[in-house]
Symmetry: C2
Subunit: 198 residues, 2 copies
């Protein structure tokens, strides 16, 4: 398959590329560090990316930033930024990408554990993850030509915890998290929120 | 209790007012038809409303509009409008209202069945409802002074179906839907998505 991985330079994105590359043609996209550049907050940038890369069998997104901050300190800008990046950036990857994906292709988005298991500070990300899970369920009913859509819902990633100076045993290694993305691309599920171990 | 009902002029809002009025002081707010005027898409209007109404024990919202449209026809404006109205309007009711609500008070927001049971055309509303359900779960962990928050998740309302020329038996009467809102205001639940019958 011809697979576009958006967010390919990130911790999860690199693991997804490692897992897919032996069996598929992988096109890597990210904001600045990959062969294809894309800014998820800019619909024009998403459209230009699709025009540049040609037909695809699968689109995988492991990109999109979010704000983690106490409820009482949240500003309109915190919501605006995260909604435009992780939420609408991924929604627009689907809306603008559906005509570029081949019959029986797929979209795989990234949500996160903070919808099912929120923590203090997760107000914005719980909105974004819940919104994306809802979008995946609804879009699965309408995507044409057998195109599927799922989201992967990672918890904490070991490498991220290490980078934050925390115990990596509290998380799941990125290569394990990547298995859910591979299952979404190569399997038959649609409208599902796939939960990583941990 | 002193209860602010936002969206008091709507079908569900009127039923909530009827249910609460015998036991509580109810302040009605809506965009144009109530004693207090508020535009949920405008944070300044929400702040002005709270400054005008004084201390509250409960805030109930049955307002916020959304677009229902096939996935392939959705525009950036469809998402922008619905996110600013039903999603961020209700989030801002909480963020800007928490300091105006008394100890052990409550917020009750409106989501809807299209997150759990999406239909074709529900792409935007599934995002908004999922986002709000996530926000309620997360905000419940952080609201101060014992303030609670829940959402009510109505399905189709009989009176709405009648107004659309459809069989009202396919829905739930507004007076029944209103019982979940009353349970949220008068009960002890927090962080819950309350499901109406039907």
């Amino acid at each position: 398959m011809r697979v576009l991985v958006v967010g390919a330079a990130g911790t999860i994105g690199q693991a997804i590329v490692r897992a897919l590359a032996p069996r598929h043609e992988v096109i890597r996209a990210s904001r600045s560090k990959s062969q294809v550049k894309v800014d998820l907050t800019d619909p024009g940038s998403i459209k230009a990316m699709y025009a540049a890369v040609g037909r695809l069998d699968a689109v995988v997104c492991a990109a999109g930033e979010g704000v983690f901050k106490p409820l009482a300190q949240l500003t309109e800008e915190d919501f605006r930024f995260t909604l435009s990046s992780k939420l609408m950036g991924q929604v627009n990857l689907v809306v603008y990408g559906m005509d570029h994906v081949n019959d029986r292709g797929s979209f795989t988005l990234t949500t996160g554990i903070l919808f099912e298991k929120p923590t203090p500070g997760s107000g914005v990300l719980a909105v974004v993850n819940g919104g994306l899970i809802g979008f995946v369920r609804a879009a699965a009913l309408e995507l044409p030509r057998g195109i599927r859509i799922n989201d992967c819902c990672p918890g904490w990633v070991s490498e991220t915890l290490t980078a934050m100076g925390m115990d990596p045993k509290g998380g799941t290694p990125a290569d394990i998290v990547a298995k859910d993305y591979v299952a979404s691309v190569e399997g038959t599920a649609t409208g599902r929120s796939l939960r990583s171990v941990g």
